[in-house]
Amino acid sequence: KDTVKIAYIGPLTGGVSANGIGGRNSADLAVRLKNQDPNAKYKYELVAADDECKPNVGVQVATKIASDSSIIAGVTHYCSAVAMSTVDVYHKFGLPVMVWGAVLPEITYGNDYKEVHRVNGTMINQNEVAAKFLTGLGYKRWVIIHDTTDYGKGHNKYFSQFLTKNGGQILGTFGVTADQQDFTAELTKIKELKPEVVYFGGLTPIGIRIRTQMDRLGIKAVFEGTSGIKSDAYIEGLGKLSEGSLSFIEGAPWEKLPGGLGFIAKYNQQKYPDAPEAYGPFAYTAANLIMDAIEKAGPDRKKVMAVLNNTQNVETIIGKVSFDDHRQNVVPLISKYVAQDGKWVVWEDSLYAKGQRKLGQ
């Protein structure tokens, strides 16, 4: 068999490296499984690189990967700013890539590059559901905390839009930095505002801090997070306090799909020291889509790109994947999760949905 190289790029060092390493392991898992498949035409090799979640480093490694003609395609980027900075590079070099974690809409919609695909949904989809869902449950008064990265700011923007549309009221908006430790000043102000729901647009680390400090100050509001906190680390980091936190993520709930359960079983089999984290399944899916395309079209960037462009209704562990005219996966479904008894549980199956427990207690 010929060896074909595909690339993985994500943050392997720095503050969000847990996600990057989880994604890397997931993509690696896909490659290993493919290499065990006797029917596969090629032997695959994953070239992993670290973008540090920094745009300039991203451009550097993207150039390195894209200018290496032995690499056929890439599973790229968790951080939106990095993805934004590298799409031009991929376009210039004609390297087909599939974004596996960055959620900013502009990555796919801001250009018309045939090279750039995305398996995960954008923050638009997520927030539409998030806003409708809780206003539907009868909540009225919100406070928004978001981190000032593109992720948090984007979430704030879309959530605010959808929330006002759905009749929710925003009492206050607080931007916090991603490395902030202390939120008591903001939270005291929030306590004074007496919201019913605290919406948090940001990632696990500060999500944990904010939730803990809410408790310290005795704030008893519903904690509504985004995809950024849907991680085991969130539950582990909070213990009992995680109970009743909400999170939303694009795609079908892979825990409930047969492929998803298989994924996690095989992941555990490989004994990776770190968890796949929330976006691991997307990286896994992206790697598989790419390898399938190579199987179909051969190791040729242009041909692989053409196959990827036309991906429609492909069954994956995150549900059906179909790309629209901007090669953005049209995510049919947003999954809602609630933390219950130390686990993320799909809302519909939870005691909360059944009315046996109440949020924000």
């Binding site: 060092t13 503050g15 490296s17 847990a18 390493i21 000032t148 908006t173 607080f174 931007g175 916090v176 930095t177 490395d179 902030q180 430790q181 202390d182 008591t184 000043a185 903001e186 005291t188 102000k189 306590k191 004074e192 696990t204 680390p205 944990i208 801090r209 803990t212 400090q213 310290r216 100050l217 005795g218 991680s231 680390a233 582990e236 980091g237 909070l238 213990g239 020291p273 770190d274 968890a275």
Partner: protein, 310 residues
């Protein structure tokens, strides 16, 4: 602003301030001996916190009383940090003694990076935040919107007592005298019979233990620790030490509380006064104020007494 809310802000500010101040005291200590910014201070703090956490996991179930657990945890964490401090002094600081002092900055910077990366990579699941045990009693009183829990009080008292103790140690004790002598003129200090190497080692052990204590306090207060917690705390601690006035422990306290106040004001009051400015500008506000203060008081709030003459 309602009084209860105001009290809450005050308490928040005090807690934050005392943690900053302890970090700042560590910097003050190092400025003394090395005359250089020790950029790994924050990371030692983090290592101290993780050492405490590990100890807790290790002794889980061995002791009934949380107080006893706490004692063991503090003891081990401080010892680990002190040992680490001694190793750093011996193998990184003393060998560079003859090089320009700023080179120590680079070494400690790299050391901090290495420590951070080691925890991230080798501590089990180290890149994610860890819950820190609640070992202090959490009962408290509520006064309207104001909640005062006893753990806050204990931490506040510990912090202030520690700072005063260090201050006394440095200004009143023999060892403190030796530390200052080494700082000002290491050669002459030796001529006075002071064991230079030993003093550098002791200073580093003391400073590192202090960092570990700050790390533990941080963990006990926020009930969460993570591998990058030292980064920002380090920068803020440094800022507090400098803005307060170097070489002065009261300066560290003043700087610590000032910084906490700036952040609180920046996050809440400032946007309230100027509604067009969102709270996200708080750091911009705090650091702008720092620059302005430095312009007005170039040697810190509690000015260093000038000993320079011609």
């Amino acid at each position: 602003m309602p009084f209860d809310i105001f009290l809450q802000y005050l308490l928040n500010g005090l807690m934050l301030g005392v943690i900053y101040a302890i970090v700042a005291v560590g910097f003050t200590l190092y400025f003394g001996v090395l005359d250089v910014i020790k950029f790994s201070h924050g990371d030692i703090l983090m290592v101290g916190a993780f050492a405490g956490l590990t100890t807790y996991i290790g002794i889980a179930g061995t002791f009934e009383s949380p107080w006893l657990q706490l004692l063991v945890l503090v003891f081990i964490s401080l010892s680990v940090a002190a040992f680490l401090g001694a190793v750093i002094a011996r193998y990184l600081i003393l060998p560079l003694q003859k090089a320009p002092p700023i080179n120590t900055l680079l070494v400690t910077l790299m050391l901090g990076l290495a420590l951070r990366e080691m925890v991230r990579l080798f501590y089990p699941n180290g890149s994610n935040p860890k819950p820190f045990p609640r070992l202090l009693p959490t009962d408290g009183i509520a006064l309207g919107e104001f909640t005062l829990r006893s753990d806050s009080l204990i931490l506040l008292a510990t912090g202030i007592i520690t700072i005063i103790a260090v201050q006394r140690l440095i200004t009143k004790s023999k060892i403190g005298l030796a530390i200052r002598a080494v700082a000002q003129d290491s050669e002459t200090a030796r001529i006075m019979g002071i064991n230079f190497h030993q003093i550098v080692l002791i200073t580093f052990m003391l400073g590192s233990a202090l960092a570990a204590l700050a790390g533990l306090m941080n963990g006990l207060y926020y009930n969460e620790v993570n591998f990058s917690m030292g980064l920002l705390l380090g920068v803020i601690g440094f800022s507090a030490a400098v803005v307060g006035g170097l070489g002065n422990f009261y300066g560290a306290i003043v700087g610590g509380f000032l910084f906490a106040a700036l952040q609180t004001v920046g996050a809440v009051l400032f946007p309230a006064i100027m509604p067009s400015v969102p709270s996200a500008y708080k750091d911009v506000f705090a650091f702008t104020m720092i620059i302005i203060i430095m312009g007005l008081k170039p040697t810190g709030l509690i000015s260093e007494k000038s000993s320079e003459r011609v």
